[in-house]
């Protein structure tokens, strides 16, 4: 049998089973682990390209696993699986090196689309490309009205290229949409500090600090 490409780490037997079958159906080979320790053992033996990691695990939790593997296996990409509504953990995971996140519940199509996209996004690609990739994902999510998801991607982008103004401008916009004017103001200022000529952030800052204030017309790019 061909060497498996994807490792599924989940304490739920049925999730492991169904996820495996969903991926195997599109000819992606998988292996599974039910705990963090087991996952680390398997990672030490086999060079997986992708790990689907549930963050909620008994014993060593998902974030800890992620912390241990990121530097050790630079070619391994990780998609974390989070429970509904736990965006903050997702952000943390992305900072720790996860490439994407999957919110429960999901259907086979969502899993397959994401796995395909991640595998095709050329793991060997340069960081600059990855950065554009996340900015793109963030903007897609904003257009779809999924601001929380967008924030995760924007944060990831900012993490990858700390000196670019775009992610902060996007985060600022998301803060504004959420009604948090102060954080928005802060993020726009960071964006402008990084690049004083960046027009969208300048426009947004002007609007945020103007009276009367209106949330209408956020400049995303």
């Amino acid at each position: 049998m061909k060497e498996p490409m994807v490792l599924i780490v989940d304490d739920e037997k049925n999730i492991r089973l169904t996820l495996s079958m969903a991926l195997e159906a599109i000819n992606i080979t998988v292996d599974t682990a039910s705990t963090g320790e087991e996952a680390l053992e398997k990672l030490a033996e086999i060079p997986f390209k992708l790990m689907l990691l549930d963050l909620k695990l008994p014993g060593m939790d998902g974030l800890e696993v992620l912390r241990r593997v990121t530097d050790k296996y630079p070619n391994l990409m990780t998609i974390v699986i989070t429970a509904y509504g736990s965006i903050e953990v997702a952000v943390e995971a992305m900072k720790l090196g996860a490439v994407d996140f999957l919110q429960k519940p999901f259907d086979p199509k969502a899993v397959r689309d994401m796995v395909r996209r991640v595998l095709l996004s050329a793991p060997e690609g340069r960081p600059a490309k990855k950065y554009e990739y996340y900015i793109g994902l963030a903007k897609q999510s904003i257009n779809a009205g999924e601001f929380e998801v967008a924030r995760v991607y924007a944060t990831k982008a900012a993490f990858l290229k700390w000196n670019r103004p775009e992610p902060y401008n996007l985060i600022g916009g998301i803060c504004e949409v959420k009604g948090d004017r102060q954080d928005a103001d802060k993020n726009y200022r960071v964006a402008l500090d990084l690049d004083p000529t960046y027009q969208p952030a300048r426009k947004n800052l002007e609007r945020v600090t103007s009276r009367p204030y209106t949330r209408m017309g956020i400049a995303w790019d």
Partner: protein, 614 residues
């Protein structure tokens, strides 16, 4: 006695005073006249007599001279005439003695007259002219002078008396003048005072009546007007008292009933375990039950929130909100949602109070006040919180098994669809369908838990109406057409924007449309409409379904509510979620429906962010 008579009698003293004064004046003036008359009668006659006597004696003297000169005949005639004249006057004088000393003077004159007459007789008998002349000068002339002097004496005596008496009369009349003046003033004063006193006495019953009426006006129906007599005022007072009697009787009877009613209603509200406070339109406390006083201290008639023990700000805000709702004329404020309950820390620990308010109308049917009930829903709230967290936990725990279940069914369908019999396929489709339903239920529950715990974060952006409605319609067209229902939309004249969270807004539309599809028979139609106002946009989802009976219309937005008698089609959460979302946007949601005529669900959204979630 009639009032007219009395008033007339009251004028009598004044008239009497005038009469007395007149009588005095007449008498005194009469006196004055009679005294002048007396002067005339007493003295004037004496003066006249004295003068006539003087004249007569002088003629006698002339007559004597005539005789002495030899004209005896003429002289004796003249003397004869004057002699009787003198004696007549002397007689008159002697009869008219009025003054002191007059008697003596008259007697002296009489004596002198007789003396003169005796000398005259002797003189006349003399025939010798020489002797005659001698006798005239030596005897007759001195006696003539003596008589004349005597008459003069009487004259002057009476003239003096006249002067004195006229002086007296003048003085008397001057005194009389003063006296009459004083008497007039006195009489006038006395008359006025007595008349006034009498009039006051007559009028006094009127002021008694007035005072009684005033006291009755102030509410003292025990008072009666005490007026004696039989005049018109007394009659009026009698009638007045009769009227007061019946008024008193009426008030006592209605007051009794009123008190009874008030007591029983007070007892009723006192027996309520929840605080009840009645306020007027301005928020002043009119009445409170025992529980309210036990909770907030003795309630004074002050503005709500300024009770002896100040209310907690959250409670004050809730009361204000409830009152505002009622004062806006929207009817009773009866929130059924326990989320509205306010937590306060009372003497018995934490309590949850749900503020309800009901309008109080006056007899004309206009709003007169607001009665506020603070329902103690502590137990219910705790149960509700428990059940909510239980539901949330369950819903959460459902996700993992559901995820694998869905994946399993999908994969099975993918891999085995070709090899399965039709009945096997039906079975697995049924499994998939129920899996989706379960999934929706879990999603809805978690949604509503999040919405109601206030954790709902809105991501609001301007959304253009035209494209929104087009998208919404497209998204649900398939679903509607599967049920043979026409779905269409009609746009407002101008493409405007609403300020809303797009994801949540889609959810609201989805819930309303799915609901409409469920309750509309095949062949029906669903129309989505929008109408713009100055500040908001009103969206409507109109169906041609079975409609909702009026008695259930108020409850359709409640959690887990389903119109009884219908087959359970949804989770009963969709409309509750929609309501939560719309209200978080500062909009309103409602419906118009008639059974058999279809339903129109509508909601409004602000165009700008002017209204944050409330």
């Amino acid at each position: 006695m009639l009032l007219r008579t009395k008033l007339l009698l009251a004028q009598v003293p004044l008239a009497l005073a005038l009469l007395v004064l007149g009588a005095i004046a007449i008498t005194t003036i009469g006196q004055l006249g009679s005294s002048s008359e007396r002067i005339l009668k007493d003295n004037y006659r004496s003066v006249l007599a004295a003068q006539r006597m003087k004249e007569a004696i002088e003629r006698m003297d002339s007559a004597a001279l005539f005789i002495a000169l030899g004209r005896r005949q003429e002289g004796q005639e003249l003397a004869w005439r004057n002699r009787s004249l003198f004696e007549e006057e002397l007689e008159t004088q002697i009869k008219n003695i009025t003054e002191k000393g007059e008697q003596e003077a008259s007697q002296a004159l009489l004596r002198r007259w007789r003396d003169y007459l005796a000398s005259y007789e002797r003189f006349v008998r003399e025939t010798d002219y020489q002797v005659l002349r001698n006798r005239f000068f030596t005897e007759l002339l001195p006696k003539f002078l003596a008589v004349k002097e005597g008459a003069d004496q009487i004259l002057s005596l009476n003239q003096d008396a006249m002067v004195r008496k006229s002086d007296e009369v003048r003085r008397f009349s001057r005194r009389l003048e003063t006296f009459i003046t004083f008497a007039a003033i006195l009489a006038a004063l006395a008359g006025i005072i007595v008349s006034m006193a009498l009039t006051t006495m007559i009028i006094r019953p009127l002021s008694v009546l007035t005072q009684t009426a005033r006291r009755i006006k102030e509410g003292d129906l025990e008072v009666r007007a005490k007026v004696e007599g039989s005049d018109e005022i007394a009659l009026l007072a009698q009638e007045f008292n009769t009227m007061t009697d019946s008024l008193d009787r009426y008030r006592k009877s209605s007051l009794g009933e009123l008190l009874q009613a008030q007591h029983s209603s007070q007892a009723a509200i006192d027996s309520l375990p929840d605080p009840v406070v009645a306020t007027d339109l301005e928020g002043k406390i009119l009445n409170a039950n025992r529980t309210a006083e036990a909770w907030f201290g003795p309630v004074l008639s002050g503005p709500l929130g300024e009770a002896v023990r100040p209310l907690e700000p959250a409670l004050t805000a809730a009361i204000k909100k409830a009152r505002k709702y009622v004062l806006a004329g929207k009817g009773a404020y009866l929130p059924s949602d326990l989320e509205e309950a306010v937590k306060i820390v009372g003497p018995e620990g934490e309590r949850y109070l749900l503020t309800q308010a009901a309008p109080v109308y006056d007899e004309t049917g206009s709003l007169a006040g607001v009665s506020v009930v603070l329902r103690d829903v502590t137990l219910l709230s705790k149960l509700d919180a428990m059940s909510k967290s239980l539901v949330a936990t369950f819903a959460h725990e459902f996700r993992t098994p559901l995820t694998s279940l869905r994946l399993a069914i999908h994969i099975l369908l993918e891999q085995l669809a070709a090899t399965m019999s039709e009945r096997q396929l039906d079975l697995i489709y049924a499994a998939r369908e129920d899996c989706e339903r379960l999934q929706n239920l879990v999603d809805d529950i978690l949604d509503i838990v999040r919405l109601q715990s206030g954790k709902l974060e809105l991501y609001r952006v301007p959304i253009r109406i035209f494209s929104l409605m087009e998208n919404i319609c497209d998204q649900h067209r398939l679903l509607a057409e599967e049920q043979e229902i026409m779905i269409s939309y009609s746009l407002p004249p101008f493409d405007e924007e609403v300020f809303a969270d797009p994801e949540r807004l889609e959810l609201v539309f989805a819930n309303l449309i799915v609901n409409a599809v469920r309750h509309t028979p095949p062949g029906g139609s669903i129309e989505i409409r929008a109408r713009t106002n100055r500040e908001s946009v009103r969206f409507e989802v109109k169906d041609t379904g079975e409609g909702i009976p009026e008695e259930y219309q108020a409850q359709v937005f409640d959690k887990y509510f389903q119109v009884p008698g219908n087959i359970r089609k949804g989770t009963g959460l969709g409309l509750a979620i929609a309501k939560n979302i719309i209200e978080a946007h500062g909009g309103e949601i409602g419906l118009e429906s008639e059974p058999g005529q279809g339903s129109t669900f509508w909601f409004t959204l602000p165009k700008t962010e002017g209204q944050p979630g409330g």
